[in-house]
Structures are given as structure tokens and as C-alpha cells.
């Protein structure tokens, strides 16, 4: 073959890779290469697949208490906060991984087990881009997420089943993974002897009768059940359209849609609110608070308000509290969803840094287990932290100020160094020496409050 036209397999096979981690018994460096979770990425070290729920048990319980309605927990809230308390600026504590885990947990059975069968829930994860500052912009972001994460298509498929009187035997083998190719696919329906066209018509009429605009109802009916909605509806609208309609679509039309599709609550997991709030001007911050109040708390003729459909958890940290506090109070949001002060702790899920060595070991172990060769015996039982000693892990978490993101990044570095030097054990002393070289201060903003004490002089001129 002429070299000019050669192609290669993008992922080298494990035989091709030189495995320098073999001396420890691993197939690769067990720890993530990126500083934060990349949802949808292909590397399971980075994309949130590897997760140990036991290290955040308390936080998970609080999460359920705040947001998941069940027979023993009817009083859930509409707006709650996830507060990164470990650092003032909020970096690397594990919030995204946590939210991702709970999203999967809720969505896999639509909240059946969590709510003890009393609710039909979905969870959508929203992470802002860098240019959104307005409230309609936020609504647009959420709509985008709802479409891209297949919540809309799920709702439409449910409607198809309800409206189209599709029999249970047809849907027996439908799963979350194949739903778009089955219920959502007109040809598949035809194959089952169902008239896709008339089902869509029925849905369109049904939606219009229930208050959605005829244009939206039409688009949803035609493209909503599969991934065409993004192409044919979402991406063709100009900013002006969203400015005028985003809020209404999200908080009225979509709420109605979800309710008609049988959902009882929708949970919006809103990550990194600071990306929106920080660049905002004073006026924009005020508008944000007012929008939040109108569409969640007490706006007139807002379907979301009357039905309390959406629940959202906003990810913040102490610095954001400082920025938003004033506006939160002056727009009256403080009465509905306290942001600061004593009562706020009821509405807040606190994320603290790690100090418990047993949790650290669990965290370490879950990563390392995932990088053992496939044929390892009793993989699930191994609580392996080799080649690290317990002392090494303790020092590492201490040097990382109890922040998991920094901790894992440092472990990756330490692992690389150990494999380069062919050390079979990594001790606490190694950790201390290497950490001096491993600097993580690049992305920490030094504020005016930062200071370092001066070291003492090393000579004495006078006794």
C-alpha cells in the first residue's frame, strides 16, 4: 500500500501500547488525565463512569431529601444549592462527577426506585457556555440540554405510546438505549403495523389543544421523537426567537408537554453557575434573580409555578454567595429560597473536602480496580491501593487540601514518576518530595487576601 494513502486505527490496541505500568499489574495509569469530568468522553477515567458512591453517602442522602419526592419525603424544594465549601473559588471537589452519577441514577428507571414508585422523574444536566448572561439565554441552555440529552424525545415517545394506544407487547423490549430507534422511528412503527402519520397528527392536535403553539406542536410531533428535533427546530432559530420565546417555551410549553407525557417532576442539575454570574453586570445579576423568581416562585400564568414541575440544584461556592447575595435579597428571592444565613443550610447541599482516610482509600481503589487486566480474579473484592502505602495516600490528600480533583491529578503524576523510576512502592516521603515539584497553583487565582509569611533568616548577626 502506498504510504500516502495509509490509514490507522485511532485507538491503538493493548498489544501495540507499550505498557510501562505492567510492573504494578495495571493496563494503564489508573488516574484521570484531565482535571475535571468530561461527560460523554470516551475515556472512562474522565467521563464519570468510574465513581464510588460511598465516598459521598451523606451528600447523596441530602440530595435525595432536597429533590426526590417519595412517600416519606413529600416536601421537596424547587430551588436548592450545591455549595462547594472546600475552597472559596470552588475547584475539583467532585461536584460534576456527583451530579453525573445522580443523573444516571434518576434516569435509568425514571426515578421509580428512588421515589418508591410514586413519581416519574427525569434529570437533565446543564453546564453553561461562556457567553450566556441573560435569563432567556439560560432557558435556551436548558432547552438545548433537554433536547441533546434525549429528554424531549423520551417524552414524545411516551406520548406516542399513550396517544397511539401502542400495546404493551410492542414495548416490552424497548430500553433507554434503543427507544429512538424503536418507538421514535416511524419505520419501526410501520413495521409493527402502526400508522406513524396519524399518531403524529393525534399528538399534534393533543398538544395544541393543551396550550402549546401550533408551530411548536407541529415540530415536536414531526421531529420530537428522535434526534431530528435539534436539526429541524432548535438550531435554525435565531437569537431573536429565543429572546422572545425561550422562557415561555421552557416554563410553559415544555412543562405542559412533560406533564402530558406523564412526568411528575423534572430535575435540572445546574453546574458551574459562576460561569454565568461572574461575567454579568450588576443589572444582569438582578435580572437573573428576577427571572428565577418569576419562573420558579410566583410568576403569573406560568405553568411551572402552578404545577411546581421543575426542581433545580444550582452549583455555587462562597464567592458566588458574596456576589449574588445583595440581588438575591432585593428581588425577594431570599424569602423563597434562602441563599445565605441560618435557614439556607436547609436548602443547601454542602460539599466539603476529604479527610477520612478510609474514604480516600475507597476513591483510590475504585480507579485502580478499573485499570486492572480484564482477567484478574475477584476484581470486585480487591481493595487495592498498591503500590501506594496508606501513609502515602494520607500525605497526598493532605497536600491536596482534601480536594479530590487535585488529589487524583497528583496521584497520576506520582504514578508516572514511580513507573519511570521503576519503584514498586510509593511511600509518604516520595509523595512529599514529588509534591514540591508538582505545582497546582497555576489555575488558582491569587486574590488580594492571599499572603505568605516570610521565612526566618538563616543567620544570626547578634546572639
Amino acid at each position: 500500500m502506498n504510504d500516502l494513502f495509509r490509514t490507522v486505527n485511532p485507538q491503538p490496541t493493548s498489544e501495540q501500547l507499550v505498557n510501562k505500568y505492567q510492573i504494578f499489574g495495571f493496563t494503564r495509569n489508573p488516574f484521570p488525565s484531565e482535571a475535571s469530568v468530561i461527560i460523554g468522553g470516551s475515556d472512562d477515567r474522565n467521563n464519570g463512569t468510574i465513581y464510588e458512591p460511598e465516598i459521598r453517602t451523606a451528600e447523596s442522602l441530602k440530595f435525595e431529601k432536597l429533590l426526590i419526592p417519595s412517600p416519606s419525603n413529600i416536601d421537596t424544594k424547587s430551588v436548592v444549592f450545591l455549595m462547594d465549601n472546600a475552597t472559596r473559588q470552588g475547584r475539583g471537589i467532585g461536584k460534576t462527577a456527583f451530579l453525573n452519577y445522580h443523573k444516571k441514577r434518576i434516569n435509568y428507571d425514571l426515578g421509580a426506585s428512588l421515589s418508591k414508585g410514586t413519581q416519574v422523574l427525569f434529570a437533565v444536566y446543564v453546564n453553561p457556555d461562556l457567553k450566556t448572561r441573560s435569563f432567556w439565554g439560560i432557558s435556551k441552555l436548558i432547552i438545548d440540554a433537554l433536547i441533546q440529552q434525549n429528554i424531549i424525545s423520551l417524552a414524545m415517545c411516551r406520548l406516542r405510546v399513550i396517544q397511539g394506544n401502542i400495546l404493551p407487547e410492542h414495548i416490552a423490549d424497548v430500553t433507554l438505549d434503543n427507544i429512538q430507534d424503536t418507538i421514535g422511528n416511524d419505520n419501526w412503527l410501520k413495521g409493527k403495523g402502526l400508522d406513524a402519520y396519524s399518531i403524529n397528527q393525534k399528538i399534534r392536535v393533543f398538544l395544541t389543544k393543551n396550550g402549546l403553539s401550533s408551530d411548536l406542536a407541529d415540530k415536536l410531533a414531526r421531529f420530537g421523537a428522535n434526534d431530528e428535533l435539534y436539526t429541524y427546530f432548535f438550531s435554525v432559530q435565531k437569537d431573536n426567537f429565543w429572546r422572545e420565546n425561550a422562557n415561555n417555551i421552557l416554563f410553559n410549553s415544555f412543562v405542559k408537554l412533560f406533564q402530558l407525557a406523564g412526568f411528575t417532576k423534572g430535575i435540572i442539575l445546574f453546574d458551574e453557575l459562576e460561569k454565568i454570574v461572574r461575567p454579568q453586570s450588576a443589572n444582569e445579576r438582578r435580572m437573573f434573580c428576577e427571572g428565577l423568581r418569576y419562573y420558579f416562585a410566583d410568576g403569573m400564568n406560568v405553568q411551572n409555578v402552578s404545577s411546581k414541575f421543575f426542581e433545580t440544584i444550582l452549583t455555587i461556592h462562597p464567592y458566588l454567595q458574596e456576589i449574588l447575595g445583595g440581588y438575591w435579597q432585593s428581588t425577594g428571592l431570599e424569602r423563597f429560597y434562602p441563599l445565605s444565613g441560618e435557614i439556607a443550610s436547609e436548602y443547601t447541599l454542602f460539599f466539603e473536602s476529604f479527610k477520612d482516610i478510609h474514604l480516600i482509600i475507597k476513591l483510590c481503589a475504585v480507579y485502580m480496580r478499573a485499570s486492572l487486566p480484564d482477567d484478574t480474579q475477584n476484581k470486585a473484592d480487591i481493595d487495592v491501593i498498591k503500590p501506594f502505602t496508606q501513609d502515602a495516600l494520607e500525605k497526598a490528600i493532605e497536600r491536596s487540601s482534601g480536594v479530590p480533583g487535585k488529589f487524583l491529578a497528583f496521584l497520576r503524576y506520582a504514578f508516572e514518576k514511580a513507573s519511570d523510576k521503576e519503584l514498586l512502592t510509593i511511600t509518604g516521603e516520595d509523595i512529599e518530595n514529588w509534591h514540591i515539584e508538582f505545582s497546582y497553583r497555576k489555575d488558582e487565582e491569587k486574590t488580594d487576601d492571599s499572603y505568605e509569611e516570610l521565612n526566618m533568616p538563616q543567620v544570626k548577626l547578634k546572639d
Binding site: D448, Y451, E452, L454, P457, V459, L461, K462
Partner: protein, 438 residues
């Protein structure tokens, strides 16, 4: 009976006109070679000097005047009557000879002469030690927070009132210094603020200096002139003046004792500014305005008053400079052999710390120098010498380290205002220190 410092024979006029003490030597040398020399000739002949990284080609009129005045007061030169030329005195000739034989001796002579004339050198060192004995005389003269955190616009001359913004900035620096090294500025917060405010108001009352052009108004054809001042500059000056007043008055801070019998202002701010570079050149102190952790000027003595019987192997005695309680002045001059290992280790450690912070291979050598000198209490000259020796060693006699030096001014840095290090008369501003591969 109280022991006082001798009243200065001369006010410190003209001190600070030049800080390179080689000027004295050059002037003596030129006068000696010419036998008789006029002021103009001397001025022209004095070689190019380096200040910071800016070369100046001529010693200014005021500088030459003050140089000649000083040398006269030292009794090193005398004018020839009825002419406008000078010649060396016998003492001047002796001093010149001694410089050629032993440069250290010349430095000692200068210190002695200046102390005898002005009293300030010895008194200043003693005062530093009295302000912060535990900290070995280390003090900080506060400045406003860094320009990144506070960069206000100019104000009209008329709006000169003290306000909360100024107080806030003042407090920020004060609090930071208290956290970093509170003994280095042992002044009560209220007293400090009060004094700064007083100085601020005083500075607002003098005749304005800056005159700015206002944009052309639509009505008039003429450009109106409005008088403005820089808030930042004025606050810096006010804080400096307040600190000097509180730390360097006749009374020792926080004590009732007086240093001079007659109450007088020993160290007006301008005199302080003039003396600092000279004291540094005399190797009595080290100071820097650009320590990354400190908002202000850091000063510490590299000399000390002690009883003679102490172990003086690392010190040079300056005879005839005594404190009122008869202690002698010693310059801290550690020998190379004793310092060799420590020096390179400290150099490397500080380099690594800074490298990890700024993430560039070449870092400002001044930052390294400032901290190494502070930790090892070295004078600037000692540092330059040690660095030169170490540098040579890394080439001739590998010691496990590589040092590279460059001369360059980084964009947007404060480097052009800082003294470079001098090695073989070449200034350097950037350094790397790496361990060689084993």
C-alpha cells in the same frame, strides 16, 4: 546619664546625588593624575555610570557640586586660592593609595567619614535594630497595594480630601504587613492611619506641580488647563512620610528614650530616600521595593553594633564608629568558604520556588537576590561576588548545578527600575539555576 548620638556636623545636603561609590575613587584618581583639576574637567572626565539599566553619560551639575562639597568636608581635596581648581590633600592622597591596595579599607574609610560628618549611617543601623530586635533589624515601610489591585484615576487638585477609599487601601497594606511580619512595622494601626491622613492633607496643601490638558470643550476654542494629581502617588508618599516620621524620629518607637539630645528632625523623608541607596552601597543595609510578598520597602541591616569581644570571624570591624553605649559597628561579611555550600543551596531553592510560581525558565535575578540576601543577611555586593564565584565554579569545577545569566528587560515588568546584578561590570537581570543530571 543618657548617652546620645553626636549631633550631625553637616546636614545631608547632596547625599543621594550619586549612589555609585566608585565616583569617589574616580574623582580622587582624576584629581591626582591632573594634580590640579577644575570642576568642569572633572565633570567631563567622570566615566559613564550605570543606574538601574539606564546609562548616563555625564554626572549632573548638582551631582558634581555635591561630590566636591563632600570631598572637601572629608578633607580630601582643597581648593587652590584665587583659582577655580582643586588639588588632593595629603589625606586624600593616602586614601587613594589605600584604595589601590585594599578596596575594603576604602569602603571602611568612607563609612567612617560619612558617619563622622552626618551621624546618620551608624544611627540608622542602630535604630533598625532597636525597632525590631527579634527580627534582626528587619523593617517594612508600607506602600499602597499593588497596582493590579488599585489603580485609581487622577483627581482634580481641588478634591484633595481624605476618604474611605484611601483609608481602605492604607489598611489593606497595613493588615497584610501585620500578617506577614508584624514586628517589622511595630506601629499601632490608629496612629499610622492618623499620620497618613495628616501627611495626605499636608501634601494637598502645597503648590501643585502637575498641570494637565483638559479635552477641548465645545464652547471655547482654547484648551483649558486643569490641575490634577495622582492619587496613587500621593498616597504612596503620604504612607512613606508617615512611616518615616513614626519609625525614625528622635524617640525610639514604643520607647521613651531619645537618641539625640536636642529635638530635631533627624531623617526627613527626602533625606531618608537619599540615604537608602548610599547605605546599601556602603554594605550597611539591604533594601528592596519589589519583594513579591511585601507591599512596600523591605529594609534590613547587614551590619550590627556589638561589643568587641564577640567572635568576629565573619565580621569586619569599622573602627571609630561607636554607638552611645560604646558598642562597635561590624559589617557582616561571611567568608566564601563558610558560605559556599549554603549559598548555592539557597540560590537553587529560591529559584525553584519562583520558577514554580511563574512557570518560565528564566526568572528575574533581582527576586532571587532579594530573598537570598534577606535569608542570609548578605549585602548586595556580597551577593554579586558570591554569585560570580559560584558561577565560575559551575564551569571550571562542576558542583552539580548549572547557572545561566541573561540581560534582558521583560515586557510589562518592573525590572527597569531595579538594580541588576553586576558581574565583571556587566549587568544581568535574568537567571536559571538547575541541577545537572546525575
Amino acid at each position: 546619664m543618657e548617652n546620645y548620638w553626636k549631633k550631625p556636623k553637616s546636614r545631608s545636603l547632596g547625599v543621594g546625588m550619586f549612589t555609585d561609590l566608585r565616583v569617589f575613587y574616580e574623582a580622587l584618581n582624576l584629581t591626582n593624575e591632573a594634580v590640579n583639576i577644575s570642576k568642569q574637567t572633572l565633570q567631563e572626565e567622570l566615566s559613564q555610570r550605570v543606574i538601574g539599566n539606564i546609562f548616563i553619560s555625564k554626572v549632573s551639575d548638582t551631582a558634581i557640586d555635591s561630590l566636591l562639597r563632600e570631598m572637601k568636608m572629608f578633607s580630601w581635596i582643597k581648593p587652590i586660592t584665587n583659582t577655580n581648581v582643586f588639588t588632593l590633600t595629603n589625606e586624600g592622597k593616602e586614601v587613594l593609595t589605600s584604595y589601590k591596595k585594599n578596596k575594603r579599607h576604602f569602603l571602611h574609610t568612607l563609612i567612617k567619614k560619612m558617619h563622622e560628618l552626618y551621624t546618620i549611617p551608624g544611627w540608622f543601623i542602630n535604630r533598625l535594630w532597636e525597632i525590631n530586635p527579634e527580627g534582626q533589624g528587619q523593617i517594612i515601610i508600607p506602600s499602597p497595594p499593588s497596582i493590579k489591585d488599585w489603580n485609581p484615576t487622577s483627581k482634580k487638585w481641588e478634591s484633595k480630601e481624605w476618604d474611605e477609599v484611601l483609608e481602605d487601601q492604607c489598611l489593606k497594606s497595613y493588615n497584610k504587613i501585620q500578617k506577614i511580619d508584624k514586628k517589622a512595622f511595630p506601629i499601632n494601626k490608629e496612629a499610622f492611619l492618623k499620620k497618613v491622613k495628616e501627611r495626605w492633607e499636608h501634601l494637598g496643601g502645597v503648590t501643585q506641580k502637575t498641570v494637565a490638558n483638559m479635552p477641548k470643550s465645545k464652547k471655547s476654542q482654547q484648551k483649558d488647563k486643569i490641575r490634577t494629581y495622582s492619587q496613587r502617588d500621593r498616597l504612596t508618599t503620604a504612607m512613606k512620610e508617615a512611616s518615616i516620621h513614626l519609625l525614625f524620629s528622635n524617640e525610639v518607637p514604643n520607647k521613651q528614650t531619645k537618641d539625640f539630645e536636642i529635638n530635631q528632625t533627624i531623617l526627613p523623608p527626602r533625606i531618608y530616600s537619599a540615604w537608602c541607596p548610599r547605605l546599601l552601597a556602603l554594605e550597611l543595609i539591604f533594601y528592596t521595593d519589589f519583594h513579591p510578598q511585601i507591599p512596600g520597602r523591605l529594609i534590613f541591616p547587614t551590619s550590627v553594633f556589638r561589643k568587641e569581644s564577640c567572635d568576629i570571624s565573619h565580621f569586619e570591624l569599622i573602627t571609630d564608629v561607636k554607638s552611645p553605649n560604646t558598642e562597635q559597628l561590624f559589617l557582616y561579611q561571611p567568608k566564601w568558604e563558610a558560605m559556599e555550600k549554603k549559598f548555592i543551596e539557597f540560590l537553587y531553592t529560591e529559584y525553584r520556588k519562583l520558577y514554580l510560581k511563574v512557570n518560565t525558565l528564566y526568572v528575574p535575578v533581582q527576586d532571587i537576590r532579594d530573598e537570598v540576601c534577606r535569608l542570609l543577611r548578605l549585602s548586595a555586593e556580597r551577593f554579586d561576588t558570591f554569585l560570580a564565584t559560584t558561577f565560575k565554579k559551575t564551569i571550571t569545577n562542576p558542583i552539580g548545578y548549572n547557572i545561566s545569566l541573561e540581560t534582558d528587560i521583560r515586557e510589562g515588568s518592573n525590572q527597569k527600575y531595579r538594580r541588576p546584578i553586576l558581574m565583571n561590570n556587566i549587568p544581568y537581570t535574568l537567571i536559571t539555576v538547575t541541577k545537572t543530571q546525575q
